[in-house]
Amino acid sequence: MNTLDLFALLPLIILTTSIILVMLVIAFARNLALTCLLCCIGLASTLLSIAWVGSSADSGYVTPLILVDAYSTLFSGLIVAAGIFISLISYSYLKHRGENQDEFILLLMLSTLGAVTLAHSAHFVSFILGLELVGVSLYAMISYPSKGLFGLEAALKYLILSGVSSAFILFGAAMMFAVLGTLSFSEMASSAQAQSTIEHWFILIGTTMVLAGIGFKLSLVPFHMWTPDVYEGAPAPATALLATISKGGIFAALLRFFLSFDGYQYNLITESLFWIAILSIVIGNVLALMQTKIKRVLAYSSIAHLGYLMVAFVSASILSGKQLAIEASIFFLFAYFITTIGAFGVVAIMSCESQGSDKDEISHYQGLFWRRPLLAAFFSAMLLSLAGIPLTLGFVGKFYIVAAGVESELWALLVAVVIGSGIGLFYYLRIIFSMTTHTDSDEPIAIPATGGWALGTLAFLLVYLGVYPTQVVDWVSSVAKSMI
């Protein structure tokens, strides 16, 4: 460990320090505004340090556990930026919910730290460390401010299933370790070359178990059962965090693992991923049709979106389309982050005055266009982005997914994408339509400044990058190039 290594670790160090600082401040002075301010300053300086390290440090291992390169810079930047937006929205959401809300912010920072670790991980130890850090903070966040049963039910569900899936991942990793004698992704790849049949099966089963565990966390079909209940029960900012930071970090580690270990060489695995993608798209979209609560709709739609992401992930199995596929998955995730935080942000803002559970019945949103035009316009933009309509970032994301599928000639997956998007339109438009209908309710909807500005920024980014994505495309493309 020398100073260069320490410099490469700067983002993690700053983030950890600010977490400790926030914890100490909470211990002495409970003040939500102060906590949030410190959290934002901490995350913002982390973001700056990520940019600094990314532009000046050489890529390489810092200890065998942590790998700092363009890929980790991109993902940790994305995750920390998402953390800032979620903490701003959380502030508005928590402000009117009584005392002792500060720890929510602390937990938020902790799970951000976990996801950043995941983005840097090149070793099963750091992988599981990050995974658990995200998971454990989420258990508490899901049940945090609500005194109702739904939050507790959701947290318990998530706790048990997430625990089981972590066990799967651990066991899978152990099986691979038994054969390969290492837990580092790249060393596993080199020693996996010459193996006897029985050892080959050990690796195969181990990888499958790891994938099953990750499938739980990413809520891919058939491991998706927990998603709608947890999304519904958790407070909206926690849901946003679960849907973006947690899934994004895990996907970053998964992609890294597959690329360095070359998981695509096992046909069985590629094929099951293929079916997981199709099933996630179809089942996610079809079940979303039948929901009447916005959070449940978004839950199923996020299952479908992870399915789209898997289309790009599977496309990377074909050598000629590998770079485009990696690029597509990173860009899609980028678009998904902004859109999902925005969509849950709207739910959070809508519910920030209510004391009990979130306002997520579609009927709450009736006539929103006439009562709160700007909020309705933001929400419509987010929904249209989820549906992949031009002028929004979601369109470029979908464009990327289709391009990756075409380049790798996976036509069956593309058929699923087209059908899924068609069904998807139906439920997104239904929400937009109900926002345009008339309502007699004139219950005022207050829009808090902090959350409102955060949403506005997200909506601006969504449209600006949807129209002019050039810089992001170039950045993502250079990162993807460095990965193969």
Partner: protein, 510 residues
């Protein structure tokens, strides 16, 4: 640059109209009128550029008046490419003209959120203008989708009793077919890149590449489906009657007048020139679909009691002629198709306006409850008579020129289909005149709800919208040459591109 300014004018005009609503409820429509005037002036300058013949003499062989090309997403070779030639210019002019008509037709129909209404109107126009001038396939697809959302909102917010269903159906049909086109666009681009050309979405660079026969057939189908859904051709027409019936008048005018034309434009500009051989392979099928649309649309139109639905089905029938004309792909038949697009745009827009006026006054579209309206509204009756006669193809009016040329051009290709298509002219007369009789002639309605209404004739605002359309239709019916002068060089160059690529098209030229 003019195209970019035009599109930006429309986008910005829409935003201004929306934001000014808070101050004054009457101002937004004046903003729209102003926006359309500025856009029209911009476009009009293109008419004063050197004509094609002068350019030819000067040694310029290009049919393009103006090409704007700015790199956009270099990673994929995507550029912001706008180009305008005679065909695009004609379509853009039609768009802006009908934009005026749409604003006039909704003048006092919309009392809820007039600013947001005008915003959607302007953005639809901007999207359509973009579709007509975009020559980068990514940009084209971009505009293709952009025009859908405001149209969806127009139907969903200001539509009639069954608006949710109609708006959803409209959006789903066009979006899903659009996604199929997106897959085809990407497969085309990546396929062309596979032959060693750098990645590009530019229309000019994508033309004339040899892809495998199977691949280009499927790609062509992707484009074909998207355009035929929009056209709409049988069996993809089912969204149209619902959308038209439920839409507010202005949206119906735009939908029938110009949105349908984007499908026909796409067939002429993209499907055939990009895949001449594959298009030749399905020309027979496409012409058959066109003929079925003509007859089937006419039969269904005859069976309707809802005036708007009748006009909607007549659109299916008339656009069937366009499909036949494009896929016969002779110089005459393509000219005819373009003429039919313009004439149908004008006559159907006018008929929808009349339908809207009837509904506004009587609060029903049911023709069985109407009758004898001519007595109380002679001006309206005369205007309706004119447009019904125009749309049934009376010589001397625009629609006749279009249909006649299509039939003439298609006759050398496929006699059976041409004969069947000709039936459309007869059935057109039947349903047109039946509608005329039911609504305007005969006994006055005895329905207590209807007969109690004091029926107002067309006022000066409505006549101001109708008279230009009457003049335009008569003009292109009697003296269509200026339109041909405008589009002929373009059609000829497109036609030349496809010559020699396929035996079917060569056979066509003989």
């Amino acid at each position: 640059m003019i195209m970019l300014l035009t599109i930006l004018t429309l986008f910005i005009g829409g935003l201004v109209a929306w934001s000014i609503e808070a101050w004054n409820k009457d101002l937004p429509r004046w903003i729209s009128v102003g926006t359309c005037i500025i856009a029209s002036i911009l476009i009009a300058t293109l008419y004063f550029q050197p004509t094609q013949q002068e350019l030819m003499l000067a040694g310029v062989s290009s049919t393009w008046y103006e090409v704007l090309s700015i790199p956009w997403i270099p990673r994929f070779g995507i550029g912001f490419v706008l180009a305008i030639d005679g065909l695009s210019l004609l379509m853009v002019s039609l768009t802006l003209f009908l934009g005026f008509i749409a604003i006039l037709s909704s003048w006092d129909e919309i009392d809820r959120r007039p600013g947001f209404f005008q915003f959607n109107l302007m953005w639809t126009l901007a999207g359509v203008v973009g579709v007509f001038v975009a020559l980068d396939l990514f940009l084209f697809f971009f505009f293709w989708e952009v025009m859908l959302i405001p149209m969806y909102l127009l139907i969903a917010i200001w539509g009639h009793e069954n608006k949710a269903y109609a708006a959803m159906k409209f959006f789903l049909f066009t979006q899903v077919s659009g996604l199929i086109m997106l897959v085809a666009i990407l497969a085309l681009v990546l396929g062309v890149a596979g032959t060693g050309v750098p990645l590009t979405f530019n229309y000019f660079d994508l033309m004339g590449h040899q892809l495998g026969e199977g691949l280009s057939f499927w790609l062509m189908c992707g484009f074909f489906v998207a355009f035929v859904v929009k056209l709409p051709g049988f069996p993809f027409h089912t969204w149209l009657p619902d959308a038209h019936t439920q839409a507010p008048t202005a949206a119906s005018v735009l939908l029938a007048g110009i949105l349908l034309k984007t499908g026909a434009y796409g067939l002429i500009r993209f499907t055939v020139p990009l895949f001449p051989e594959a298009a030749a392979d399905i020309a027979g099928v496409a012409m058959t679909l066109g003929a079925i649309s003509i007859v089937y649309g006419a039969l269904l139109a005859f069976a309707q009691t809802d005036f708007k639905r009748l006009v909607a089905y007549s659109s299916v029938s008339h656009m069937g002629f366009v499909l036949v004309g494009v896929f016969a792909w002779t110089e005459l038949s393509i000219q005819g198709s373009v003429m039919q697009m313009v004439a149908h745009g004008l006559s159907t827009a006018a008929l929808f306006m009349i339908a809207g006026a009837l509904q506004h006054r009587l609060h029903t579209r049911d023709m069985t409850r109407m009758g004898g309206i001519w007595h109380s509204a002679p001006r309206m009756g005369a205007v309706a008579m004119f447009f019904i006669i125009a749309s049934l193809g009376m010589p001397g009016l625009g629609n006749f020129v279009g249909e006649f040329l299509i039939l003439l051009g298609a006759f050398s290709i496929n006699k059976t289909i041409t004969v069947i298509a000709t039936m459309g002219l007869i059935t057109g007369a039947v349903y047109g005149l039946i509608a005329m009789q039911r609504v305007f002639q005969g006994q006055k309605s005895s329905d207590p709800e209807i007969s109690g209404i004091k029926f107002g004739d067309f006022g000066s605002r409505e006549m101001a919208a109708m008279i230009p359309m009457i003049i335009a239709l008569t003009w292109i019916g009697v003296y269509p040459q200026p339109v041909f002068d405008l589009v002929d060089p373009v059609l000829a160059s497109l036609y030349e591109l496809t010559l020699g690529t396929s035996s079917q098209w060569i056979g066509a030229s003989q």
